[in-house]
């Protein structure tokens, strides 16, 4: 048992960090540090920087543009990316639909889509949830009816993150209404420019518009856009969700947030004393650090076990990572609320919001970094809900680990 990183791994970490330092724009870096969002343009530019370096899809098989890194290197890369912080490559492409395509897609699909995903030529969004199908995803109703060489799609998806930017959507659609609910679902790739698609934004409690409803009204989709076999889509979805959960602990993100909290708590004062010296606050922060260290070690256990794990089989421990990872991320948003105190109150719109120009007449209010704190607290309630809510994760633990 040796839990230290090897000299090679430490050198690799340094290489990654140096690359980020030399290649990420200062402006985008500052946005992330302040808790603001990177714009579509920022993410496209950054994805292309990573792609030129060959680092846009490190976890993919080498044949499709992966780096061939060990699980530990993958972990280090992700931790550095999140900790730097640098924008995360668009998960819907590189973590979700990409792996489904290279695992279950045909050669034409692989050749066409994979390079475009890596270069963020295509912005993908995820068409899974529906108004009546959240945790019970397999009950989804959006249907696709075969008509010659096309499918005709009707229905509605919701919570579609960043659909407003999207070129493509990967959808779970019902192709056999008579079958058992998991057995009548197919995985379809749909061009967002297709006639009959309407995107309607949903305003969230942070004031932002990152999620949308997507309506399909007699949308005609070429049958060639079916991934794998018809009615096998649920298997591909489970594979995709398993991949999603291995990255969901977001240890590097929480580490970066805790460092940020420590920095800001040194600037805020209670009376004459920096907040970081307040014993009550300091202990709350330390308690969050303990949780995070424990999560980090759990993540490393999963990473180390990856060598010996059956391919494509998600570790049930990923449910533990999801539950604690989300709780800790939320904890960091609460600590930041504590730090900013009264200047959590003023509502200042996100500068990335398309309405910024009309809303930005007001001068900034309070410290620079205060404006994002309450919105992030509001927004991050989502992290214990998405990707399989924490209650669903408990269900997975009860069934898959405990056999209850």
């Amino acid at each position: 048992m040796d839990l230290r990183f090897t000299p090679d791994e430490n050198a690799f970490r340094e290489e990654v960090r140096t690359f980020f330092r030399e290649n990420l724009s200062k402006e985008v870096h500052a946005k992330l540090v302040e808790g603001r969002h990177a714009s579509k343009h920022d993410l496209v530019e950054w994805s292309r920087v990573l792609n030129r370096k060959g680092w846009a899809t490190p976890h993919w098989p080498e044949a499709y543009g992966g780096t061939g890194w060990t699980p530990v290197q993958q972990y280090i890369f992700l931790e550095e990316l999140q900790g730097f912080p640098a924008p995360a490559p668009l998960a819907f492409g590189v973590n979700m639909v990409g792996p489904v395509i290279y695992t279950f897609g045909n050669e034409e699909q692989k050749a066409h889509y994979l390079p475009r995903i890596a270069n963020l030529d295509d912005w993908w969004c995820q068409g899974f949830s529906e108004p009546g199908s959240g945790s019970d995803l397999a009950s989804l109703k959006t249907k696709a009816v075969r008509d010659g060489e096309e499918y005709v799609v009707n229905g509605q998806k919701t919570w579609t993150t960043l659909a407003q930017h999207a070129d493509w959507i990967f959808c779970l659609v019902r192709t056999d209404p008579a079958a058992k609910k998991q057995e009548g679902i197919s995985f379809l790739l749909i061009d967002m420019k297709s006639p009959g698609i309407t995107v309607r934004p949903i305003e969230l409690i942070d004031g932002g518009r990152e999620v949308n409803e997507v309506f399909f009204d007699d949308v005609r989709v070429p049958a060639a856009n079916l991934v794998g076999q018809e009615n096998k889509g649920w298997d591909y979805a489970k594979f995709l969700l398993g991949n999603e959960r291995t990255n969901i602990a977001r240890v590097g993100v929480s580490k970066e947030r805790l460092r940020r909290i420590r920095e800001l708590a040194a600037l805020e004062r209670i009376g004459e004393t920096p907040m970081i010296q307040n014993p009550r606050f300091r202990e709350k922060l330390a308690a969050a650090e303990v949780e995070l260290k424990s999560l980090e070690m759990t993540q490393l256990r999963v990473v180390a076990a990856e060598r010996t794990r059956e391919k494509g089989k998600p570790d049930p421990a990923s449910s533990v990572l999801k539950i604690k990872g989300s709780e800790i991320q939320q904890m960091t948003t609460e600590l930041l609320l504590d730090v900013v105190g009264p200047y959590a109150l003023p509502y200042v719109p996100d500068r990335e919001d398309e309405r910024w120009d009309e809303l930005s007449n007001e001068p900034p209010i309070g410290p620079d970094w205060a404006a994002t704190v309450a919105p992030t607290y509001f927004n991050w309630r989502k992290v214990s809900i998405y990707g399989g809510s924490n209650e669903i994760q408990r269900q997975i633990i009860a069934k898959a680990i405990l056999g209850l």
Partner: protein, 383 residues
């Protein structure tokens, strides 16, 4: 980065696991608890035979040269079996002080006796007013010619009554809470002036209140610098925290297994109560809490070998916070899910609960360590 055991470590694990499974059944343990000494010299002899008492000691001193990982393996198994023999006081605590601070002569005298099971030891450190502060020492050691004279009172000394030799922390200079001026003294448990009043502890172990009245010891009985014992004591306390974190893993894993088994078989309303979602989610939360402490036990095992005292202290405090939090959560849920039988002496689960609760208070509870961690600047420093 790997969490794998070596072949030797796997053999050790097999051996100690088998010992606990074969020789430490619940009923057998009950008989040991009911005996006068409260622990079994026969079992102690078996531990010696299996080489478990030799684990952390260097090979040229009769040990097997194991490190923190080997101790983790042993302690996790002992947690599962709720082993009451004085392994922690003798091998981990006193043995640790000898390893880190003992002279050649001291090690040559005491370590073979430990390894062969011929003698047990105890650490007399806690005082009535010291709570968890290792540096809060009122017991005095005064120069007496070449040697020393010890006077004072020590409390809650694990295995204090039965130990052949005590290691006593005593003040050689400075005021009650000074970090300097603390010495560590090897004292024969039967020496003139030593009075020992033993009692059972809540978790079925034994401890003692110990009086020292002008106890004379020779110059060869000081471990390390007579005024500089604290860093040795702190290092060993850190190793002991790693050890009880591993014990906690064993206890919690066992509590979880017993509880899940119980809710799968206990029927109410015509079905196994484990089919109810409220209970399933509680059980899932027990898994999460157990995995967290398992992770921290690995972390503590790795960090207990660190030579940087500040880094080590932060890691151990973080570990002890997690031990306290997970231990309390899993323990309470385990009792709750058992219902009434959970609070009976007849059933196993309550015994684990009691041991876990005592571990929470051993060498500092979660609040103590959270404050220590926070005061030290936390775990994640600037990158």
């Amino acid at each position: 980065m790997d969490f794998d055991f070596t072949d030797e470590q796997r053999l050790l694990k097999d051996s100690v696991d088998r010992f606990v499974a074969d020789r430490y059944a619940f009923e057998a343990r009950k008989a040991v608890l009911a005996s006068e000494a409260g622990w079994s010299p026969a079992i102690w002899a078996q531990l010696a035979e299996l080489g478990l008492l030799a684990v952390p000691f260097a090979e040229d001193e009769g040990g097997i040269g194991g490190g923190p990982t080997e101790t983790m393996i042993v302690m996790e198994a002992f947690g599962r079996g709720l082993v009451v023999e004085p392994y922690l006081p003798t091998v981990v605590l006193a043995g640790g002080l000898l390893r880190h601070g003992g002279s050649d002569a001291q090690r040559a005298e005491h370590i073979p006796k430990i390894v062969e099971g011929r003698a047990t030891m105890a650490l007399a450190q806690v005082e009535r007013g010291s709570r968890y502060d290792l540096h809060d020492v009122s017991t005095t050691a005064k120069r007496d010619g070449e040697g020393w004279v010890l006077s004072g009172e020590k409390g809650v000394v694990l295995h204090g009554e039965g130990a052949d030799t005590l290691v006593v922390s005593a003040r050689t200079a400075g005021g009650r809470r000074d970090r300097n001026g603390i010495g560590l003294f090897l004292v024969d448990g039967r020496a003139a002036g030593v009075s020992r009043s033993g009692y059972p502890t809540q978790d079925g172990m034994r401890a003692a209140e110990i009086g020292l009245e002008n106890v004379r010891v020779g110059p060869d009985c000081v471990i390390g610098d007579p005024e500089g014992g604290l860093p040795i004591l702190e290092r060993v306390a850190d190793e002991a925290i790693a050890a009880v974190a591993a014990e906690t893993v064993g206890i919690l894993a066992e509590m979880q297994a017993i509880t899940v088994d119980y809710i799968k078989t206990r029927k109410q309303f015509g079905v196994a109560i484990g089919s109810f979602q409220a209970l399933q989610h509680r059980a899932a939360d027990m898994v999460v809490a157990t995995e967290q402490v398992r992770s921290m036990a690995y972390y503590a095992t790795m960090m207990s070998g660190s030579d940087d005292p500040a880094e080590r202290a932060a890691a151990m405090s973080a570990t002890k916070v997690q031990v306290g939090r997970s231990g309390r959560f899993v323990g309470q849920q385990a009792i709750q899910l058992h219902g009434g039988v959970g609070v009976t002496m007849e059933y196993r689960i309550g015994h684990y609960f009691k041991r876990m609760t005592m571990i929470e208070a051993f060498l500092g509870d979660a609040d103590h360590h959270l404050a220590r961690l926070a005061d030290g600047g936390g775990l994640f420093k600037a990158a």
